[in-house]
């Protein structure tokens, strides 16, 4: 399991390749990898979003991400997993969150990745503040859910 809160722009694919090379090269029982990448949209609730500030609660965030991943690992047959999450100032199309899980069979990886993402969105203490032409506003969970349950902000 690897969890990281990142306070600068990052390349999720490079991170994924580096982790796989460093930690998973000997795990030859892996038969599936499921990856979710959430990126910043430039529109929300009908308004153009220029940028976004991602705030978090240090220590509690890491604690809950660990709990979430541990729960998913117990529930599904997960060999390893990685969760990366941005904080700080984010621009449209920037990566926000990467969740990847590895398993023997695809269903466990699919299910674990989805469960980690859904739990992260409702439990991990992150908050988004959007910058629009009308000023700054905090994102409400209902705003996101009513538009699209499966896509990230």
């Amino acid at each position: 399991m690897y969890i990281e809160i990142i306070n600068e722009e990052f390349d999720p694919w490079q991170k994924l390749v580096e982790y796989k090379r460093a930690q998973l090269k000997d795990k030859t029982n892996i038969g599936a990898c499921s990856v979710f990448l959430g990126t910043m949209r430039d529109i929300n609730s009908g308004d153009e979003i220029k940028s976004m500030e991602l705030q978090h609660y240090p220590d509690m965030t890491e604690l809950y991400l660990e709990k979430i991943v541990e729960n998913a690992t117990k529930k599904f047959k997960i060999i390893d997993s990685i969760v990366l999450h941005r904080v700080g100032l984010v621009s449209p199309s920037d990566p926000i969150v990467l969740v990847a899980t590895w398993s023997e069979h695809r269903q466990d990886a699919f299910d674990a990745t989805r469960e980690i993402m859904e739990s992260l969105k409702s439990e991990a203490p992150f908050w988004k503040k959007e910058s629009t032409d009308k000023g700054f506003r905090w994102v409400e969970p209902e705003q996101e859910n009513s538009e699209d349950m499966n896509e990230t902000q």
Partner: protein
């Protein structure tokens, strides 16, 4: 009883600070602390409460040196 109070996101904006240290003469629940610190602010949204980095209910009883945090529903991901 001394506790550290932390505020995040829209609640931090409403309170006008990110943290403070409070002293109480008697035991308090998390909900009672929220009533105290929110009595002069405009915030009508939902709150979530954590004590020592774990989610708790308003009935949770606080201990000396606890860290309590108040924040709106989370929006990560």
């Amino acid at each position: 009883m001394i506790i550290v109070v932390k505020y995040f996101a829209s609640i931090s904006d409403a309170v006008g600070k990110t943290s403070e240290k409070l002293t109480f003469q008697q035991k308090k629940t998390a909900g009672e602390v929220w009533s105290d610190v929110s009595k002069d602010i405009k915030y009508n949204g939902k709150i979530m409460i954590a004590v020592n980095h774990e989610y708790v209910s308003e009935n949770h009883s606080l201990n000396d040196n606890d860290e309590i945090a108040f924040f709106p529903p989370v929006t990560g991901g």
